[in-house]
Amino acid sequence: MSDLRDLYQEVILEHSKAPRNFREMPAASRHAEGYNPLCGDHFTVYLELDGDSIRDIAFQGSGCAISKASASMMTQMLKGKTKAEAEELFRRFQALVTNQPAPGQGAPDRNGDGHGEPSAEKLGKLAVFGGVRDYPVRVKCATLAWHTLHAALEGSQQPVSTE
């Protein structure tokens, strides 16, 4: 069970049950849809931009505990960040869950002990998703909201698919 607790950390379960910023944002300046056709997870991410920074962010949709918690914590993390900062966090987050070195970082955490890996440093609370690296089929769950965010930032009209 210790393995499972690495994946389903308390904070992840808590966010999945009570997601933050889980609402439609009709006045959003940008929004994008993300879809995982394999499991049916489906989210819309809404952004309200103020020049180059994210004044407000929200999401809606349905998905598993990992995808929903990831979306919830992403929205918390990104409020007030610039577009460039958001993209940088996305890269670091992706590196964390796939156990790859973050851009400009050293070797990945090959021993997989989940401690002190460089990419986790600037991720703050998002580091709880480090356990996903041991469940390769769940990486898409953890990154779906981030891919959707990326599409919204780019102003993409096409729904994002993880496949």
Binding site: L4, L38, G40, R138
Partner: protein
């Protein structure tokens, strides 16, 4: 030595004496993979509707072919080619008997059910479906019995009609009947629904379709491992199934078609083996079934499938069905007793599939936690998104049973679900 001969000589695989009940522990010994450990637990394999495990007889038949018989078929004059051809054609006879077709000419080897359906859509369909015509399917189809017809409809300007199902997952036969008409050029239905387990009254549906002279294709992918199949009793015009779901290898399947229909159909793919003579001016096609088997076929796959069907016949499809029915009843009762579980697909007439959702917990999370307990289930939409939409769920957890599953494994599933609850408590 052929597989059949080997089985008769040594009887190395479990066979059942009539009336002795189903000796599931003995049968399990025939499947080497069932000895695997997963995350420190014995494997509990409940994803049989996706693919079944293979008995030693099938593994041996494939190995034996490559060790002793491998050659290209239908063209060599040498010894091995003759022997490989004989084995390949023997597998065709086995498949013919398995579905009770009248003639081996009516048995075409394909890559699987999907290719079989595409073959009919692209040959019979393209020839007979025109603008304004209709193709009738049901609301419980697998994507592979939807998309080939959609492609055809798009090309021809025809219309895909869908017969609805009720809240238990049963086809509304009255509605099906109303959708039939003079425009109906093809009817395509599943024998057993992969997502719900529903067994359809195929004989009745064929009779209704034939009143309008519409030929019926039956997607038998989920039926072949669980039910006796008799294409002549069903009266269907085409019947498709996959080898890998009936204990055979992947990459091989069967299309049964009535000889008169197959004869009148244009070929599917061009190439070697499907011709009788070729000049740059004109090619004449080979006779059935070779007209539809262009190129070197999956010889080892066909031989493996033959061995799988021999294995199933050895146990008796009736005995297998009875055992699985017991498992289904046991699992249905056990899962119904778990709070917060909703079964999706509760038709009175079902084959070994239990699909369910749990309040507040996504199927994907359930699947991951069960996997940590060594329990393999399928989570997702099961390539049947319209079924998910019909029941208003994004996905389900599906446990599907095979001849080697036990009540203890269903108990392990129920205990695994308790663990899911604990994690999400």
């Amino acid at each position: 030595m052929s597989t059949v001969a080997k089985q008769q000589a040594g009887a190395p695989y479990a066979s059942l004496e009539r009336g002795s009940g189903f000796a599931v522990e003995r049968v399990r010994g025939d499947f080497p993979i069932l000895r695997e450990q997963v995350h420190g637990h014995p494997l509990v394999y409940l994803d049989n509707a996706a693919t079944s495990q293979k008995p030693q007889a099938v593994i041996d038949a494939i190995r034996n072919y490559y060790e002793h018989d491998n050659a290209n078929i239908h063209r060599g004059v040498h010894f091995l080619s003759e022997r490989a051809t004989e084995e390949y054609e023997r597998a065709r006879s086995t498949a013919q008997q398995f579905v009770n077709a009248a003639d081996t000419r009516e048995i075409i080897f394909t890559r699987g059910t999907t290719e079989a359906i595409n073959l009919v859509a692209q040959t019979y369909g393209r020839k007979h479906v025109a603008a304004g015509d209709e193709i009738l399917v049901t609301a419980m189809e697998h994507h592979s019995n939807i998309v080939p017809w959609q492609l055809l409809c798009e090309e021809k300007g025809a219309r895909l009609r869908v017969a609805p199902i009720d809240d238990r997952g049963e086809l509304l036969v009255g509605e099906f009947e109303k959708l039939l008409g003079s425009r109906t050029k093809i009817v395509a239905i599943p024998h057993v629904s992969n997502a719900l387990g529903t067994i359809n009254p195929v004989g009745k549906l064929v009779e209704l379709a034939h009143r309008w002279n519409a030929p019926v294709l039956v997607d038998g992918a989920q039926a072949a491992p669980h039910l006796p199949i008799d294409v002549r009793a069903l009266g269907c015009d085409f019947y498709a199934f996959s080898g890998h779901k009936v204990y055979g290898p992947t990459g091989i399947g069967v299309l049964y078609g009535k000889a008169a229909l197959l004869d009148a159909m244009p070929p599917y793919q061009g190439g070697g083996d499907m011709i009788s003579s070729v000049t740059f001016e004109k090619t004449t096609y080979n006779k059935l079934p070779y007209k539809f088997e262009a190129g070197t076929p999956h010889v080892s796959g066909a031989i493996g499938l033959g061995a799988a069907l021999d294995y199933v016949n050895g146990l008796g499809i009736g005995e297998i069905a009875a055992h699985e029915e017991e498992l289904l009843a046991y699992a249905t009762a056990a899962l119904s007793a778990v709070p917060d579980i909703r079964l999706i697909g509760t038709a009175p007439h079902k084959a070994g599939v239990v699909s369910f959702v749990m309040d507040g917990i996504h199927p994907h999370d359930i699947g991951t936690i069960l996997d940590q307990e060594g329990i393999a289930v399928r989570t997702g939409h099961h390539c049947a998104q319209p079924v998910m939409q019909r029941f208003n769920v994004p996905a389900t957890v599906r446990a599907s049973f095979a001849l080697y599953n036990t009540k203890q494994e269903i108990e392990a599933l129920v205990n695994g679900i308790r663990k899911v609850r604990e994690v999400f408590a």
